[in-house]
């Protein structure tokens, strides 16, 4: 599914009528006492989740904030990120039983963030990499995968570096990156900055596959050396080493 930017904007506008902002974050922090009031009355009620819904904030992020405050008040030193993360991954380790339940509730009810969702995202990404790998093998294109590259000490590692470059739709391709997401403006720019250009800087032009589509207008760096596709390309030209026809 490739959308035009206009189409995408329309959808995005509908989905996010009130985007979460820093201001709302501040409000949240002030509301921490409300959480205490809430759970004081009824520990089993979904206080935290409702609080998150009320301020239009992701429940697992809300849980993180509350947890942070909780730990701060109990330990007096600001808790480290890794401690918080590990508690979010396994809420049963949270000393306060009520909070543990509240946090767990937030996490399983969050569809966008949190350790569980992160894991799903990661799994989807991994599965698509495997899919891409199989397609490459099927096409007899030899490659080095991320692990091999890391073992060799590459500082930036696309999913696959082709050992022999190919041409896709007339563009030379040295590397392929699989993205199991929709390529919207924001994520694409972040990827460009953190990954794609870095790959280009080291390995030359390459291909990005956004398996869930992308905004058409973002495919504007073809000439420069970054090609976007929403599926595995069909128009592949390979370097043939076979003997010339008699």
């Amino acid at each position: 599914m490739i959308l035009t930017k206009a189409q995408y904007d329309e959808i995005a506008q509908c989905l996010v009528s009130v985007p979460p902002t820093r201001q709302s974050l501040r409000k949240l922090k002030q509301r921490f006492p409300r959480y205490l009031d809430g759970v004081g009355k009824n520990g089993a009620a979904p206080v935290l989740l409702e609080l998150a819904n009320e301020v239009d904030y992701a429940p697992s992020l809300m849980a993180r904030i509350i947890l942070e405050r909780f730990l701060q008040e109990h330990k007096e030193t600001p808790p480290s990120k890794s401690v918080i993360n590990s508690l979010l991954r396994d809420p049963s380790q949270i000393p306060d039983g009520v909070l543990a339940n509240q946090v767990y509730q937030c996490i399983v009810n969050d569809c966008c963030y949190g350790p569980l969702v992160d894991c799903i995202k990661h799994a989807i990404g991994h599965e698509h990499e495997i899919l891409l790998r199989d397609l490459l093998l099927e096409k007899n294109l030899s490659f080095l995968d991320e692990d091999q590259l890391r073992a060799k000490g590459y500082d930036k590692t696309p999913d696959f570096i082709l050992q022999v470059p190919i041409a896709v739709e007339g563009h030379i391709i040295h590397w392929i990156e699989s993205k199991a997401s929709f390529g919207d403006e924001c994520s694409h720019h972040a990827y460009l900055h953190d990954q794609f250009w870095s790959y280009w800087n080291r390995f030359g032009p390459g291909l990005v596959i956004y398996w869930y589509g992308f905004i058409q207008e973002l495919d504007c760096n073809r000439e420069r050396g970054i090609l976007l596709k929403a599926c595995f390309p069909t128009d592949i030209v390979t370097l043939c080493h076979g003997a010339a026809a008699p």
Partner: protein, 1199 residues
């Protein structure tokens, strides 16, 4: 002066004698006594002859209306006038061209003023240098007088005593004097009371140079001053673009000029020659193009023209003219002259037969001009034949040339056909990044992780900056410094460690070479034309003439009348980067790196002499060598230019020091500073080794960027002296002609092998006894001496590659084996160590001590490898016709060299290598093992029966998460999970866990409808084959969809699901009465989960979660509380060996620490007791578990 010419014309003196007289002060014995006498009387005038001649020709041709711009040149030195017009102003001054060497005038302060004023925009070359660089004066004086030139002796005089009344006639031309050498495209401003010169002498080049300024440097003049171009980083920097004010003043001058001319036009009714409009860039746009036809029959005074052409040609051939391209340009102007401006009556009327007089004009018509030009061109054929292909074609197709000299035309055509010299007009290639090479770029090459990651970021910033530059540098108003300066400096600021600097410099230098090496990359399109110039040439001859002229007027990659040391195209980026970075450390590292690379490239083995066969078919090898040479030469010039730029950057200022004292003190200081690269030694070496052809071009680039003071420093002065000597006496290079030197491609090399230090000698020295060494080394040297150089290169190449491959091979075989051994040893050790509690550091030592001795095998294996591989490679690379004896010798030498290379490396490094690899393997294993290595089991694959239809892990996690969230709530009353769905889910989980490999993508699609949708489009295009032909082959290596993190989450989710089942917290869809799962169903599901935990999960399952307060607490909320499922589960865990009895007891124990409602705590204690009481229940019975305190009415368990 004229007397000399006159005597020549009267044939009193032969041309040969005259040229000998001009060129050498000493009389040669073969000279005719009469001639000698005639010339001896003119001896004092000897030095002035060339300037006179050149001025004479300019003056004579002043009425010619050229196709293009007038020749930009004039020089001082000769005041000798024609007889009858002593000291008179040059006639025909109205013409487009003025003297090359104007009559001497006192050097006035006014004349110097513009020089000083413009100094700020000039690229920092000093006047002294340029003065020596080109001036005919220097030619006349020869080497002996050079010290005067290079000393810059006139600078103080000019600066200190501007009113110096007169100067010696033979003074070298002052190129910094704008009156004498006006800037291309500019007009000298009129001094007080002086009319502005009407001469407009732009050498049209390209649009970007249309307003160029004088370039006062060794190689030549102009520097661009693009209107509206960004001010440079440092406006005071001579390398920046000139300030806009400078351009404006130029415009003002032009405006003055325009007014002046319109005044003149009003005064004279007869329209003057259509002088090109000032500011117009190319002659193509200069208006009327009507040209008179030229006819050989109408040439007046042929003989006289022939004679003058002969003398002129001889001067060119003897390298007496200051700039050959200017002369060539001049001649082509004559060839392509449009018409003559009508002269005064007295000037017309040629007197036929009068040869002995200079009274009548030399060029009386276009016919004369063309005749003269063709004559000169005939004499200069050798020079012409080295021009590039395109120019040769244009010349050969010139109809005037054909008409006047069909023979020359034929030769030119032949030269064109045989020429391989091309001026590349290829489009600049788009930027290509320097590729990442693990050997030099991976972590092992950095001092710390931090340095490694910093450099990683820097590489990205560098290319980001480069891309932005590429996108925007042509936008009007964009400024490098403003746009990128701060980002560059921020990036440079991060380079703290010296090693990071060297990494960055390596990247910078490689990118520089990569982007700027090709002529296209260096200058963009040279003529601003599409690649194929020839195809664009129309049929009309005027168009062709114009093109021809433009071509010679426009600077080309290698020549052009005055190529400036500018930084065209991509080079500009690198220059501006250096300026913006303004980092001392960076500059120092860059200089080090550039110097090293220059030294390395400068030692390139020169190509073999051009094959002597004249059939035009060059040896293939030779062409390859030439190509390689071209690449090396280009690289050297580029590197040297940047070295010069960086090295002289701190000293470069807009103007030379104002006073003698200041200058002396600077000189005293600078003379103490050692040169950045010992270029003098390299030049001398180059000369001794007859390699000047390689050294001189880059040296000139290097020096072209020197600052004002450099030419006055003894060290550099000696270099300039040497260069001048070379310029003046090219024969000292033992080359056939100047041109063979200038056009390097055609140089005949005198290759001296004895100077080459050859690796083989070293090898033999180290392995054989002294006596044998000598003999063998000599033999080997002798062997290669009589073989084509390609043979030696092949052998060296093979040895180099095989040696390197050998090391890699050892790494991949021997070392890899040892690492595997280390891994298995480690496994054993880890088991014992866990029991004994050892230290991993010790472990490594033990392993290394066991394994390193095996490294000794590397040498043996290495020798075998080289022995096996080298001969085949040599054989494949040498021609098949190579005699057997030669082949076998070459093979043996290759084997020896390769072995030496490999074994030297291996014996020095093998132990360290094994150690490093083992260490890496150990840490990898320890990391992978994690804190609980024992839990790891060997990975299992799919069962034979597996059809790989399992759902994808992501899908499953998502499904289970949904169930969990419904169970945890909050939920709507109608929300729930059907028992069937739950069973199906747990069943699918089993499938996924058991399917460890994906058979094909098709199966993946089948199991995941969403993925089917994703790739539906692809499938529709029929890109996939239906059969899984090569699948079996892939299977072995195909990794699984299920990655450890996903599996861990699945494990955790399954435990959470079990907790919810035990606590009966899962809302069930169904009739309103039944909101709970039946006990039997729950038990069945728990059974399934237990089986999965036991048999299918390959990651540790966090079963202890079941007994965490949060999970057990779920039971607290249920009314009535039912404990039987929990008890059942615990017993099953013990039964299946999933958890130990002790472990469960510990968990239950810790549950007491949590705060519970009193009744719940009591029930929990009872459960604990029950669990302890019946530890070994062989078969978990679904029996009642009535706990104590039934009076509470709590049903703890039911059957």
């Amino acid at each position: 002066m004229a007397a000399v010419l006159e005597s020549l014309l009267r044939e009193e003196v032969s041309v040969a004698a005259a040229v000998r007289w001009i060129a050498r002060s000493a009389q040669s014995s073969e000279e005719d006594a009469g001639e000698a006498a005639a010339l001896r009387s003119l001896q004092p005038l000897r030095k002035e002859f060339v300037p006179f001649l050149l001025n004479f020709l300019r003056e004579q041709s002043s009425r010619v209306v050229p196709q293009g711009p007038p020749t930009p040149a004039k020089a001082p030195g000769s005041s000798a006038a024609l007889p009858g017009r002593p000291g008179g102003p040059p006639r025909g001054g109205r013409g487009a061209r003025s003297q090359l060497f104007p009559p001497t005038e006192p050097l006035s302060a006014a004349a110097e003023a513009p020089s000083a004023r413009r100094g700020g925009r000039r690229r920092g070359a000093g006047p002294a240098r340029e003065r020596g660089g080109r001036g005919p004066g220097s030619l006349e004086e020869g080497v002996g007088a050079e010290s005067l030139l290079w000393a810059g002796s006139r600078r103080p005089r000019a600066a200190g005593s501007p009113g110096s009344p007169s100067r010696a006639r033979c003074d070298p031309p002052n190129l910094s004097n704008l009156e004498e050498f006006p800037p291309v495209g500019s007009v000298p401003p009129g001094g007080a009371g002086t009319r502005p010169s009407r001469r407009i002498n732009p050498t049209p080049v390209s649009e970007e140079r249309s307003l160029s300024k004088p370039k006062t440097c060794f190689t030549s003049p102009p520097i661009s001053c693009v209107p509206g171009a960004q001010p440079s980083v440092l406006d005071s920097s001579p390398w920046g673009q000139g300030p806009a004010a400078g351009c404006r003043s130029l415009q003002e001058e032009r405006e003055m000029l325009r007014k002046e001319r319109s005044k003149q036009l009003q005064q004279s009714p007869a329209p003057a020659c259509p002088t090109p409009e000032p500011g117009s860039t190319l002659p193509t746009r200069t208006g009327s193009l009507t040209a008179e036809p030229a006819d050989p029959a109408k040439v007046s005074s042929r003989q006289r023209l022939e004679l003058v052409a002969l003398v002129y040609s001889a001067c060119i051939a003897e390298n007496l003219v200051p700039n050959l391209f200017l002369e060539l340009f001049f001649v082509l102007q004559l060839l392509t002259a449009r018409r003559m401006v009508a002269a005064k009556d007295s000037d017309l009327e040629p007197s036929p037969g009068v040869l002995d007089s200079l009274e009548s004009p030399l060029f009386q018509s276009v016919h004369d001009c063309v005749f003269f030009a063709v004559q000169v061109l005939e004499h200069q054929f050798q020079v012409l034949s080295y021009l590039d292909k395109g120019t040769l074609k244009l010349l050969a197709e010139n109809e005037r040339l054909l008409c006047f000299s069909p023979a020359l035309q034929g030769r030119l055509r032949a030269a064109y056909e045989g020429s391989v010299a091309k001026v590349s007009l290829a489009m600049p290639p788009s930027v290509q990044a320097v590729s990442f090479q693990p050997e030099t770029d991976n972590r092992a090459n950095f001092s710390s992780d931090r340095a490694f990651h910093t450099f990683k970021k820097q590489r990205d910033v560098f290319y980001e900056v480069l891309r932005e530059w590429e996108d925007r540098h042509e936008e009007p108003g964009w400024d490098f410094e403003k746009g990128l300066g701060s980002r560059i400096r921020a990036m440079m600021g991060q380079l703290s460690a010296a090693c990071s600097h060297s990494h960055f410099v390596r990247l910078f230098q490689k990118q520089l070479l990569q982007m700027c090496q090709s002529p296209g990359g260096a200058g963009g399109t040279i003529l601003g034309e599409a690649p194929d110039v020839l195809n664009m040439l129309g049929a009309d001859k005027l168009g062709r003439l114009r093109r021809l002229q433009e071509r010679l007027a426009a600077p080309q990659s290698s020549c052009g009348p005055c190529p400036p040391p500018s930084f065209p195209g991509c080079q500009g980026f690198f220059r501006d980067f250096i300026l913006s970075a303004s980092s001392f450390q960076f500059n120092q590292h860059l200089m080090d790196s550039l110097s090293l690379k220059i030294r390395e490239l400068n030692s390139l083995v020169l190509p073999h002499p051009e094959p002597s066969d004249e059939d035009g078919e060059s040896d293939v090898d030779w062409q390859g060598e030439r190509r390689q040479f071209a690449v090396v030469l280009l690289s050297l010039r580029l590197l040297a230019k940047f070295l010069g730029f960086v090295a002289f950057l701190p000293y470069r200022g807009p103007e030379p020091p104002p006073t003698r004292e200041l200058q002396d003190s600077i000189l005293a200081l600078r003379s103490q500073v050692p040169p950045v690269l010992d270029v003098r030694a390299l030049l001398q070496q180059g000369l001794r080794a007859h390699r000047a052809v390689l050294t001189v071009p880059w040296l000139v680039e290097f020096l072209s960027l020197a600052d004002h003071i450099v030419p006055m420093l003894d060290y550099y002065r000696s270099i300039f002296t040497l260069l001048l000597h070379l310029h003046r006496f090219p024969q000292s290079l033992k080359t056939c002609s100047l041109w063979k030197r200038v056009r390097w491609m055609s140089l005949r090399w005198i290759q001296k092998l004895q100077n080459m230090v050859w690796m083989a000698c070293l090898w033999w020295t180290s392995t054989c006894s002294t006596l044998a060494v000598l003999i063998l080394a000599q033999l080997a040297q002798a062997f290669f001496h009589n073989q084509p150089p390609s043979l030696r290169r092949t052998v060296e190449f093979v040895a180099e590659r095989i040696g390197s491959n050998c090391v890699k091979h050892i790494k991949a075989t021997l070392v890899a084996d040892l690492v595997r051994q280390a891994e298995s040893l480690l496994q054993e050790q880890l088991v014992t160590q866990r029991q004994e509690g050892g230290d991993p550091g010790q472990l490594l030592e033990i392993l290394c001590s066991q394994l390193c001795p095996h490294g000794a095998q590397a040498l043996t294996q290495g020798r075998e490898f080289c022995q096996k591989k080298s001969p085949g490679a040599v054989q494949a690379l040498l021609p098949e016709e190579t005699p057997a004896a030669v082949l076998s010798s070459a093979e043996n030498i290759a084997v020896g060299l390769a072995t030496e290379k490999a074994c030297t490396w291996l014996s020095a490094n093998i132990t360290a290598l094994i150690r490093r690899e083992v260490k890496a393997a150990v840490s990898r294993m320890l990391r992978a093992q994690g804190p609980e290595p024992a839990v790891r089991e060997d990975r299992r694959g799919c069962s034979r029966a597996c059809e790989h239809h399992a759902p994808l892990p992501s899908h499953l996690i998502s499904e289970i998460k949904d169930v969990l969230s419904v169970a945890v709530g909050p939920r709507d009353p109608e929300e729930g999970v059907s028992p069937e769905h739950l069973e199906q889910l747990v069943g699918q989980l089993g499938q996924t866990l058991r399917c460890r490999q994906v058979k094909t993508w098709q199966h993946a699609l089948l199991v995941c409808p969403c993925m089917w949708l994703i790739t539906r489009a692809t499938l529709a295009q029929g890109c996939y084959s239906k059969d899984g032909a090569n699948i079996q082959g892939l299977l072995a290596f195909s990794p699984q969809f299920l990655c450890p993190p996903a599996e861990q989450h699945l494990a955790k989710c399954s435990v959470e699901l079990a907790s919810l089942l035990v606590a009966d917290q899962i809302p069930v869809l169904g009739p309103p009465t039944q909101h709970r799962l039946e006990r039997g169903q729950a038990r069945r599901l728990l059974h399934m989960l237990l089986s999965l935990w036991k048999d299918d999960f390959q990651v540790p399952v966090p079963l202890q979660l079941l007994l965490r307060p949060r999970n057990v607490g779920l039971l607290a909320d249920t009314r009535p509380r039912e404990w039987d499922l929990l008890l059942f589960l615990l017993r099953e865990l013990v039964e299946k060996g999933l958890m130990g009895q002790k472990e469960i007891e510990a968990c239950l124990d810790s549950l007491h620490e949590a705060q519970w409602p009193e009744d719940f705590a009591e029930e929990l204690a009872t459960l604990f007791n029950l669990f302890l009481a019946e530890p070994q229940v062989p078969e978990p019975q679904l029996r009642a578990c009535e706990l104590v305190q039934p009076n509470r009415g709590t049903v703890l368990a039911q059957s």
